[in-house]
């Protein structure tokens, strides 16, 4: 386990570096979509929720799980929808080539 959680730490930090490099290149033009995009992605906790809801670990786990699934799904569906709605609005000047 030991070494596993250490290497997980590496993953976390490396992902952080990647995130930093990627995000710092997003123009302010798209900062609002960025906010809702990361928001949608944070819905990934759905993955955890599914296990809690679907595995049979007793009543409590199921209840908590289902609520969690619902909440996370709102994030995912809502987040990606809104982001797409925003991004659809950004258009090039048609007159220019």
């Amino acid at each position: 386990m030991q070494s596993l959680s250490i290497i997980q730490l590496y993953v976390f930090l490396l992902a952080g570096v990647v995130g930093y490099q990627v995000i710092s290149r997003v123009p302010s033009l798209l900062h609002t979509p960025l906010m809702s995009a990361t928001n949608a992605i944070s819905g990934i906790s759905l993955v955890g929720s599914l296990v809690a809801a679907g595995g049979d670990y007793g009543r409590l786990s199921t209840i908590l799980g289902v609520v969690a699934v619902t909440a996370a799904t709102i994030n995912v569906v809502g987040g990606f929808l809104i982001t797409d709605r925003m991004l659809r609005m950004f258009k090039r000047d048609v007159r220019k080539p």
């Binding site: 997980q8 976390f12 609002t32 679907g54 670990y57």
Partner: protein, 460 residues
């Protein structure tokens, strides 16, 4: 076994599709496809999870998914662009809620067998999660003006909050030493919830965006912690991405607002800075202008720069702004938009609004790009912007916005300012620009003023 491989493959794909998606946001052309790929990644991650043997009953899951999707669609399709900040705030709440509940479930299940590492992860997950739930809700409430937007403060507030936080951390430590103490665990969660509220109370509505994206970063950290707790790599990666993104944005924001980030982090920020400023407006007077005259100026200008600000968002005047621009262009004038990094109330706020009004994004120029053009501009039309065009940021070291880079509107040949009255902007600082001889004020709600201008310009 093979299933396990499938799941792992799905997670791997998801992780990289997320990265691809965020990378695509570096240009508006690639952005949409990229985010659709990210969504695909999310789908893969979900499927990958559902096929696991661990999962035995599906009915509840499907119920949850259905309910969630329904609500998600509902709250996403009609929300106006001006309501984005609160929309985003509220959904951080949902994300954090999920993470927290999962954390609790995990704890209840494994309490007895928790390794130290896992307990640390779970602790962080629940603490950050709880804090984000209430924090986000408060932010939402303030932005939605369910509760008064003004900062709510009391004596020793910071000390009090810090003490509570220390308490929560102490409980966490205790739990790490001996996990099987449910009482402590739930007290810690409760403290987290309390801290969320207390953290946001002293912050003015206008500063919420900083908080919101900070909470975004917390939500990210919470899911990363979940990842550590249930050793799920895609959670760790997605969490890390969100964590950095939220943090980076709030830093950028506070920098653009010329606030030190610590000042932002440690409460008491957002208190409207005491408006004691070099400028005494009592004996100054601003020249107001009639719609007709303003229309004439605009109609015969060769070059016009529109400077939108928070006021445009409040008035929802973006469509009228574009119509005016088109009208002027029809008459041969050239129109551009100058976007200040912190115009409005969230990063990129103006861009989204104007994009919504079909303004092509290559006409939205950011500060660096346009600041030198003001000299050569006949009319600068300021639509509900104030702080971002306030010369005090250049001239008055005493002013709270001193040092914040601003748009050189005052260098334009003439300036027309659309606002309802003389009241100051978010920072509470008086604006000398309003009293500048070449400035004229067109009072009234930005939307109606613009509509009138459009009509006039068309008739000329």
């Amino acid at each position: 076994m093979t299933r396990l491989y499938l799941t792992e493959a799905a997670y791997l794909a998801a992780s990289f599709l997320f990265i691809v998606g965020l990378k695509s946001l570096s240009s508006p052309d690639s952005a949409r496809r990229g985010m659709q790929q990210a969504a695909l990644g999310m789908l893969l991650a979900i499927i990958g999870t559902l096929i696991q043997h661990e999962i035995v009953r599906y009915e509840w899951i499907l119920a949850g998914l259905a309910a969630g999707s329904a609500i998600g669609v509902a709250i996403s399709l009609r929300v106006p662009m001006t309501a984005m900040p609160q929309r985003i705030a509220v959904s951080h709440m949902f994300g954090a809620l999920a993470a927290t509940l999962v954390g609790i479930a995990e704890y209840e299940r494994h309490m007895e067998v928790l390794s130290r590492g896992k307990m640390i992860a779970l602790g962080f997950e629940v603490l950050f999660g709880a804090l984000t739930i209430t924090g986000s809700f408060m932010a939402f409430a303030k932005l939605q003006e369910l509760v008064p937007g003004r900062p709510i403060t009391f004596r020793f507030q910071n000390i009090f909050n810090l003490t509570l936080f220390a308490g929560a951390v102490a409980l966490l430590v205790a739990l790490i030493v001996q996990p099987v103490q449910p009482a402590l665990f739930y007290t810690m969660a409760a403290l987290g919830l309390a801290l969320g509220v207390l953290m946001v109370l002293p912050i003015g509505g206008a500063d919420m965006p900083v908080v919101v994206s900070l909470l975004n970063s917390y939500a990210g950290l919470a899911s990363a912690a979940t990842g550590f707790a249930i050793s799920n790599t895609v959670l760790i990666i997605a969490g890390a991405l969100d964590g950095t993104s939220g943090f980076l944005l709030s830093v950028l924001m506070s920098r653009a607002m010329n606030r030190s980030f610590t000042n932002v982090l440690f409460g008491a920020f957002g208190k409207p800075p005491d408006a004691s400023t070099a400028l005494d407006v009592s004996k100054l007077s601003a020249r107001s202008i009639s719609v007709e005259d303003a229309a004439i100026q605009l109609a015969y200008a060769r070059s016009v720069i529109i400077v939108p600000g928070y006021g445009m968002a409040v008035a929802q005047a973006q469509h009228q702004a574009r119509e005016l621009a088109t009208a002027i262009e029809k008459r041969g004038g050239e129109v551009k938009y100058a976007i200040h990094p912190v115009a409005g109330r969230m990063p990129g706020h103006m861009n989204v609004l104007l994009a919504e009004a079909d303004v092509p994004y290559d006409k939205l120029l950011d500060m660096e790009a346009i600041n030198d053009e003001f000299e050569r501009t006949d009319v600068a039309l300021v639509v509900g912007a104030n702080d971002v065009v306030n010369p005090a940021a250049r001239t008055d070291p005493g002013s709270p916005i001193y040092g914040m880079p601003i748009l050189n509107v005052d260098r334009a040949k003439s300036v027309i300012i659309l606002k309802r009255g003389m009241s100051p902007g978010f920072s509470g600082v008086e604006n000398a620009l309003f009293y500048d001889p070449k400035t004229t004020m067109l009072f009234g709600d930005a939307k109606s003023s613009l509509a009138k201008l459009v009509a006039e310009v068309k008739n000329l």
